[in-house]
Amino acid sequence: MSNSPAPYRSAVPWLAVAPALLLLVFFSWPLAGIVARGARGAAFVALFANPAIAPVLWFTTWQALASTLLTLLAALPVTHILARYQFAGRRVLLALVSTAFVLPTVVVGAAFLALLPPAWHRTAWAIIAAHVYFNCAVVVRVVGSRWEQLHPHLVDAARTLGASPLHILRTITLPLLRPALSAASAVVFLFSFTSYGVVRLLGGPARSTIETEIYLRAVHLDDLSGATALSLLQLAVLALLMWWWLQSAAARHSSSGAVFTQVRRPRTAARFAAVYGIGALTAAAVLAPLLALLLRSLRVGGTLSSSGWRAVFAPGVGSVVHSPLAAVLTSLQFALVTSICATLLGLATACAIAYGSRRLALLDALVMLPLAASAVTLGLGMLITFSAAPLNLRAAWIITPLAHTLIALPLVVRMLLPVVRAVPQGAREAAAVLGAAPWRVWLSIDLPLVARAAMAAAAFAFAVSLGEFGASSFLTRRTTATLPVEIARLLARPGDLVQAQGFVLATVLVLFTVTAIAAVDGLRPERLTI
C-alpha cells in the first residue's frame, strides 16, 4: 500500500516523529487538560448559572453577525471592480486590501484607537469597524475568484434584453455568487466570533467576547474553572462551525474551474467614475487607520514630537526591568525561533505526508488541529498544563515560541505540501539508481526545488509569531513580553507619552509584518491574482 518514492521508504516514518511528538505534548495534552477541567459537571453548571455569562455569549454572537454583514456590504463594491475591471492602480489596491488582512489584530485595534474619536472607543461599533477592516480581504479573495469565473456575456445578454442593473444583480450575479458568498461569510463570522486582540484593545470593561472573557476569568478573576469551561464551549462551537463549513465546502467544489478573466477598462464616464471612486475610497479606508497610527506615535502633549520614538529606542537608564525596546528584541528573537522550528517541522511533516504510507496521512489531520482551537484556548491550556510537574515550563522562555510554532505549523504545512508533492519522481529514482543515499537524494533533488517555498514558509511563520497575541497574553512574563503584549499593556494605561510609545510599537510591528509578508509574496512560486 505504500506510495513512497523508492529512495525514501525506510526513512519516511522517522520524519513524522518530531512533529507528532510536538503536537501530542504541546497541543493534545493541554487540550486534554482543558477538557478534563472544563467538562467537570460543576464547572459547566456554574458557568451557565452565572448571570454574567449569557450576555457574553449574546454579544459574541451578535457582533460577529453584524461584522459579517457589514464586511459583505463594505467589500462587495471593491470586490466587483477588482474582479471585473482593469484600471490604473489595480494591483496596488489588491495589495492594500490584502495587507489589512495580514496585520496583527492588536495593530488593527491600536490603529482604530488612534483613528476614532475617544467617545467611540469602548463601543461595539469600534470593534465591528475593526472586524470589517481586516475581513474585507476574505470577501475580496473568496468571492472575487468566483466573480472572475462568471462569464461577462451573461450580464451583457441580460442587459441587451432590457434588464436593469439591479435586476441583473438580483437574478443573475447574486445567485451565481451565492456559494462563494456563504463561504466567505462563514470565514468572516469565524474570525469575528473568535476575535480577541481587537476586543481586548477596543472593548473596555463592558464589552467581552468569549475569548476575552476567558482571559478576564483566568487572569483577573482567578476563576480558572470558569475559564476552562468557556474554552470548552468555544471549542465545541468552533468544531460545529467547521463541520458545517466542510459540509457545504464539499458541495461547492462541483463548480467549474473555468476562469473567464476578462477584466476590461470601464467604458462609460459613469462607470469610470464609479470604479475610480470605489477604488480611491477603499484605498483611503485601508490607509487611514495606519496613518492615524503613525501620527499618534508622533504626537505627545498635543504637538508633533519624536519623544515617543525616543522613549522607545533611546530610553534613559532606569531601574525598571522591562522596557518597550526589550519587547521589540524579544519579539524578533521569538519570531526567529518560531520560524526555524516551524519550517523544519513543517518540512518534515510535508515530506512524511507526501512520501509516506496512507497511515501517515493521519499526521495531516493531526497537524491541522491547532487551527481548530483558538489561540486563547491553546494559551490557557499550556498555562494550566505546564505550570506544574511533570513538565514545569512556566518560567521558561521557550514556551511562547512553542505555542507560536504550533499555530504556524498548519499554515506552513499547507504552503509546503503542494511543492513537495510536485517534485518529479523520475529525478529521484535516477539519483538513487546511481547509488546516492536517501539523504543525498533529498539534498540534491528535493531541496533545491522546495527551498524557495521553504523560505516563504519561514517568512510566513516569522510574521505569525510577530503578531500572535492570544496565546502570548497567557504565556509571556514581564521579561519575555512580546510586541503585541507590550502594545496592549501600554495602550491600556493613560498618559500621553505612555500611549505614544504604544503607538510607536504598533507602527514598528506594522513595518515588521509588512516586510515579512512582502518576503512571502516575493518568494512564492505562483503569482497572486485574486
Binding site: 452565572n50 454574567a52 487572569v219 531601574s319 525598571v320 526591568v321 513538565l391 518560567a395 522562555w397 514581564r478
Partner: protein, 375 residues
C-alpha cells in the same frame, strides 16, 4: 540562542530535575556584603553566607509604585543587594499573575496585595511566610490580618469618593455627603469609577457599598447608580487622570473613586503652587485599604528578599510613602509630612468588611456586579 533565555530554560529544567539542588543553591548564592544585613535584624548569622557574587533582587509591583528616585540606594549600600523594579498592571492583575506563577515567581518580593485581594494571594500560596521584626512597631489591627505572616503590612489608605470643589461651586450645587446621595438625580452622569474587576480601588468601592447597604441590598443600590449614569473604566489612573475634572487631566466628571490622600497630592504636585486643595473627600464613603508586601515562594534569594521586606517596613522607607504614593505608613515611628497632615482627611470610622466574608464572597459579588452594571 539568547543567553538570558538559555539560562532561564536551563534553570527551569534543573528545577524540574531536582528541587533539592535549588534549595542548596539558594543557600549559597548569597551576597558577600550580607554581613551588613545583620543591622536589619537577621535571625540567620551572616557567617553562613559564603558566595561572593552580588545579588540583584527583583521587586514586583503595580504600575503606580513610585518611591523617590534612589530610594533603594541606602539598602544597597547597607547590604550590597541591588534592587530592580518590575512594574506592571493594576493590583488585581499583579496578584493574579503572581498567583498563577506561584512557586516559579517572576521576582523575589511583591509589593501591592491589599486586604481585598489578600485571600487570593494566600490561597494560591504565592508567598513564603516571614515574620519581619518590624511587625512589633505596627498597629495590632493591621498585623492581625495576616496571622500566619505570609505577607507583611506595608501601608494603609482609604478609598473614598473625591470631588472637584470648583465644579460644584460654579454650579452652586452641594457635593454629595453619602453613598446614597450618589444615586440621586442631582448627581446624574457625574461619577466615574475604576472597574472592580481590574482595579483594587474599584474593588474597594464595591466592598464599601456592600459594607454600607448589606449583602442583600447593595445590588439595588448599583442598579440605581447605573440608572444614574455611573461611568466604569478599566483602571484608577484612567478614572482619575483622564475622566475626573479635578485632576490635571481635566476630564468631564467631577466625582471619582480615588484615595483619601488624593487632595494633598493635588496640592503637592500643583504647578504653580496652590494653598488650597482643588479636590476634597466625601468622608462617609471611605473604605479602609491595607497593603502588603511579601517574599515570593520559590525565589532563589529568600534571605535577601526578607531583608528587603525589612527595608520596605523600615522608618526610612515608610516616611517616603506619603508624599510619593499617598498612603499612610504602618510603622508607628514614621512621621507624617506637614502637607499630609494639613490636607489629607482620614475618616474616623471607615467602612470595613470581614476579610473572611471577602474571601468567600468576592467572586460571587464580582459576577453579580458585572451583570448588574456592565452587561
Amino acid at each position: 540562542m539568547p543567553n538570558k533565555y538559555g539560562g532561564a530554560f536551563m534553570q527551569c529544567l534543573l528545577r524540574c530535575a531536582a528541587g533539592a539542588t535549588l534549595a542548596l543553591s539558594a543557600g549559597c548564592a548569597s551576597s558577600a556584603a550580607s554581613s551588613g544585613a545583620v543591622a536589619l535584624a537577621s535571625p540567620v548569622p551572616a557567617a553562613t553566607f559564603t558566595s561572593a557574587a552580588p545579588v540583584t533582587l527583583t521587586l514586583l509591583a503595580y504600575d503606580s509604585f513610585t518611591p523617590s528616585a534612589g530610594m533603594f540606594d541606602a539598602f544597597t549600600k547597607e547590604t550590597g543587594i541591588e534592587v530592580q523594579l518590575a512594574l506592571g498592571g493594576d493590583a488585581g492583575e499583579l496578584v493574579t499573575k503572581a498567583a498563577l506563577t506561584a512557586g516559579t515567581p517572576e521576582g523575589d518580593v511583591l509589593w501591592g496585595v491589599d486586604n481585598t485581594l489578600l485571600s487570593r494571594a494566600l490561597q494560591a500560596g504565592m508567598f513564603a511566610p516571614y515574620a519581619s521584626p518590624n511587625l512589633a512597631h505596627m498597629d495590632a489591627a493591621v498585623t492581625a490580618l495576616v496571622p500566619g505572616h505570609a505577607a507583611t503590612p506595608v501601608d494603609t489608605g482609604d478609598v473614598c469618593i473625591n470631588y472637584d470643589i470648583a465644579w460644584f461651586k460654579a454650579r452652586n450645587l452641594a457635593p454629595p455627603l453619602t453613598l446614597q446621595d450618589l444615586a440621586s438625580a442631582a448627581y446624574k452622569d457625574l461619577l466615574v469609577t475604576p472597574s472592580p474587576l481590574t482595579s483594587s480601588p474599584g474593588l474597594a468601592f464595591l466592598l464599601a457599598t456592600v459594607a454600607q447597604f448589606g449583602e442583600d441590598s447593595w445590588q439595588a443600590y448599583w442598579k440605581q447608580l447605573r440608572g444614574n449614569g455611573v461611568l466604569v473604566v478599566d483602571g484608577w489612573t484612567e478614572a482619575y487622570y483622564t475622566e475626573f475634572s479635578g485632576s490635571s487631566g481635566k476630564g468631564s466628571r467631577p466625582l471619582v473613586v480615588s484615595y483619601g490622600s488624593s487632595p494633598p497630592a493635588e496640592v503637592i504636585y500643583a504647578d504653580p503652587p496652590i494653598s488650597e486643595a482643588p479636590t476634597a473627600v466625601v468622608l462617609r464613603t471611605c473604605f479602609r485599604q491595607v497593603e502588603f508586601a511579601g517574599v515570593l515562594r520559590g525565589t532563589a534569594h529568600e534571605r535577601e528578599a526578607q531583608l528587603l521586606v525589612d527595608y520596605l517596613t523600615s522608618v526610612a522607607f515608610q516616611e517616603d510613602l506619603p508624599l510619593t504614593m499617598f498612603v499612610y505608613p504602618v510603622h508607628q515611628a514614621a512621621a507624617l509630612p506637614e502637607a499630609f497632615t494639613k490636607y489629607a482627611q482620614r475618616p474616623a470610622a471607615p467602612l470595613q468588611l470581614d476579610p473572611a466574608r471577602i474571601a468567600t464572597q468576592r467572586s460571587t459579588w464580582l459576577d453579580e456586579w458585572t451583570t448588574l452594571v456592565l452587561r
